[in-house]
């Protein structure tokens, strides 16, 4: 009888041969020594395989090394992120200790005041143009890039396993040593109150319908509520998102607010930053530093020690004292009114549509210059500054693109390619554009997430900026279709693409739509590539 093939013998050894065929093979084995030897060898081989596999690799010996909580975006990554924050905070402290002269303070991107100032005055600078804008813009972008660079390289190091456990532990220690001792007191109820005889030693986080502080909060008060009333003392900052924020007590830090109305009857040692529908600084109210606001209407009856910078949509009334400059943009309905009791220690600058929008009473005192500019709508194309501005913008985007390509070539090229997935990137980008702010707010509410949400915000802004770089590069490459794919081609494509996007951007209505589409597309590609980069490498078949 003819011998069986090795495959049939292997099937038999695996117990996978049909019953009658297995029986025939068994009969054959009784007479054929060669096949018997083969089956024995195959059986032994199976044994070797099972034995070798079942002797688990060493790394399986530490099942306690991971827990049920281990996720792909797990603790390791959180630790890395926290370490980046820690590093950031170390650098920021170092920056702060450099004692930068006040005149150069804008250059310090790590000063919290400067940063908030930048964020809240962003639109103002954009409208205003000029070199100041570029300098601030460069500082902000530099800050983002530094953080991204730090975060990116640490994440990469961690992912590639070069940052082993001891490294991570060291980072944790660094983190513990460097982060300020944030102690938190969280309260959540309909009515959160700090009684007059009560002292909260930590930062108080309150989410409620009404938050009332009659006592003392030694840290910051972070409140999300319908009404926030401060009658006592807050030693740190007051951060509110509320329908109504009223301060009749004392705030020794800054006020950051997003409210419908903000009424200040009490004492504020530092500045107010925020966006409100209605701002009222009562004649008993005192602001130790600046007011930087976007408001529907503003009524300043009290004292502001330093400057007031406001963008107002309806009216601004000043009857109190302002230590330095008063700058106002807008006020197209009620205009800017300075009453007899108003006193401005510095210059008065107003940017209005019509002269009649500014009313300055005879008794009002303005120590410096009066600079009232009319925002006459003339074609922007007739001004040389416009072209200089565009050229600078283009050069900036080219520089960012080139640097990005130099530092993260794989990431930039992959993101550029992802723009090509069209509707998918567009849809994802739109979802990120709309969803990310919600995610940031939700993350910020869970206090541990506050720094994370700040990082998310920065990545978000960077993504919006980089969107046109990727879309531009993709567009340019599609048009030029370079035979090779060198870095030079990429940069040339970027230049052509950006030029096209810039020109299209000037077309009324369509330009805005295209710009929106570009942001969505680029943001989508950025998000998709970030997701991809965070996943471990694929295995190929």
């Amino acid at each position: 009888m003819e011998c069986y093939s090795e495959q049939t013998c292997a099937l038999a050894v695996d117990g996978e041969l049909a019953a009658d065929e297995a029986r025939r093979l068994r009969d054959h084995l009784a007479t054929c020594r060669r096949c018997r030897a083969l089956v024995d060898a195959l059986r032994a081989e199976n044994h070797v395989l099972s034995e070798s596999l079942n002797e688990l690799p060493e790394e399986a010996d530490s099942p306690a090394g991971f827990s049920l909580l281990r996720r792909s975006w797990g603790w390791g990554d959180l630790v890395i992120m926290a370490a980046v924050l820690a590093l950031g905070s170390i650098i920021s402290v170092w920056f702060d200790e450099l004692s930068i002269p006040a005149a150069l303070e804008w250059f310090n991107p790590f000063s919290p005041g400067g940063r908030t100032n930048l964020i809240f005055s962003f639109f103002y600078y954009f409208a205003h143009g000029g070199t100041a804008m570029l300098a601030d813009y460069a500082a902000v972008i530099g800050w983002f890039c530094l953080l991204l660079l730090l975060g990116g390289s640490t994440l990469l190091l961690g992912r590639r396993g070069r940052l082993r456990l001891p490294g991570l532990r060291l980072l944790i220690v660094l983190l513990t040593l460097s982060l300020p001792g944030l102690a938190l007191d969280r309260r959540h109820a309909d009515f959160v109150t700090v009684a007059a005889n009560e002292t909260v030693d930590d930062t108080l986080v309150a989410a409620a319908s009404i938050v009332r502080v009659d006592g003392v909060v030694n840290g910051d008060l972070i409140a999300i509520a319908r009404t926030v009333e401060v009658r006592g003392t807050i030693k740190g900052d007051l951060i509110t998102a509320a329908s109504r924020t009223e301060v009749s007590g004392t705030v020794e830090g800054n006020i950051y607010t997003l409210s419908h109305t903000l009424d200040l009857y009490g004492q504020l040692s530092h500045s107010i930053y925020g966006a409100v529908q209605s701002l009222h600084v009562d004649d008993r109210g005192h602001v130790g530093q600046d007011v930087v606001m976007a408001a529907g209407d503003a009524n300043l009856e009290g004292e502001v020690k330093r400057s007031v910078n406001m963008v107002i949509s309806e009216s601004g009334d000043v009857s109190g004292h302002i230590g330095r400059d008063l700058t106002m943009i807008g006020g197209n309905q009620g205009g800017l009114t300075l009453t007899d009791t108003a006193r401005v220690g510095g210059n008065l600058s107003a940017h209005v549509r019509q002269l009649k929008n500014v009313h300055i009473a005879d008794g009002a005192t303005i120590a410096g210059k009066r600079d009232i500019q009319l925002n006459v709508r003339e074609s922007r194309f007739t001004r040389p500054r416009f072209y200089v501005h565009q050229a600078l913008w283009l050069a900036g985007a080219m520089l960012v693109g080139w640097l990005g390509l130099l530092l993260f070539p794989g990431f930039f090229e992959a993101a550029t390619q992802l723009v090509g997935s069209g509707w998918r990137s567009l849809g994802l980008g739109f979802a990120v554009l709309v969803g990310a702010p919600v995610a940031m707010i939700v993350t910020a509410i869970t206090l541990v997430g506050l720094p994370i949400s700040i990082i998310m915000f920065e990545v978000y802004l960077a993504g919006i900026y980089l969107a046109k770089v990727w879309v531009g590069a993709f567009l340019g490459r599609t048009i030029l279709r370079p035979s090779g794919a060198t870095k030079g081609d990429w940069v040339l494509g970027l230049l052509v693409g950006l030029l096209i996007l810039t020109v299209i951007g000037f077309i009324p209505y369509l330009g805005g739509l295209v710009h929106f589409g570009v942001v969505c597309l680029g943001l989508g590609a950025f998000a998709a590539q970030l997701y991809r980069a965070s996943r471990p490498g694929r295995t190929s078949l």
């Binding site: 070798s52 596999l53 688990l56 991971f66 295995t539 078949l541």
Partner: protein
């Protein structure tokens, strides 16, 4: 096999350990786990985590992915254990679940496509390329076993996955075919080729 006996079948010695559940027989542990008893689930985790992790580590390319998959298996176990009917031994059932989890991971990476794609004549039974088969030697040292394991880990996915499912999870060809959505004959061919490839890469370990 009797369902009760299967359920009560103790896991292999390497999973054994001590704990609050020590007094309880394994059947009792599974019964309690079905009722979402946290301690019982923790006991199952403690006994089987190494074995499940081992499978995931062989099937997936990185320790991190294997850890994720292992976590997922035990997280989902809280619900999936209700579907365990005792018709097969629990360790084998659990490894089947874990195998499915790994295949899902691999499939997601392939963007939903099959993990192993059949080639055109894939169902044809192939014959040995050499007339003189030389299976791996029966008795090998510990270092050699490590080498065999490492070589298996470096095999291409379409060889490694069926081989591991067969000789680690001890699944039948039919079960592997079902998990991988392939023809049974093709699974047989892949396992056969995988062994040949292994012999080729470990020539001095063959006789």
């Amino acid at each position: 096999m009797d369902a009760k006996r299967n359920m009560a079948k103790e896991p292999q010695p390497r999973e054994g350990g001590t704990g609050q559940m020590e007094g309880l027989d394994f059947e009792g542990v599974i019964e309690r786990a079905r009722g979402h008893d946290v301690e019982a689930l923790a006991e199952i985790y403690r006994r089987f985590v190494r074995r499940v992790f081992g499978l995931c580590r062989y099937m997936l390319d990185s320790r991190e992915s294997a850890e994720d998959a292992t976590s997922d298996v035990f997280l989902k176990l809280q619900r999936s254990i209700e579907s365990y009917d005792g018709s097969i031994p629990f360790p084998r059932w659990l490894l089947r679940v874990a195998g499915n989890q790994c295949i899902d991971v691999l499939r997601r990476r392939q963007r939903g496509r099959k993990v192993i794609v059949e080639i055109e004549d894939g169902t044809a039974v192939i014959e040995a390329t050499s007339s003189e088969p030389s299976p791996l030697r029966a008795v090998i040292s510990m270092e050699e076993r490590v080498q065999v394991r490492d070589t298996i880990a470096r095999l291409p996915e379409n060889y490694r996955v069926p081989l591991v499912l067969r000789y680690y999870s001890e699944l039948s060809y039919d079960e592997i075919a079902q998990q991988l959505d392939l023809e049974r004959n093709y699974v047989a061919a892949l396992i056969f080729r995988a062994k040949q490839e292994l012999r080729r890469r470990l020539p001095h370990r063959s006789k």
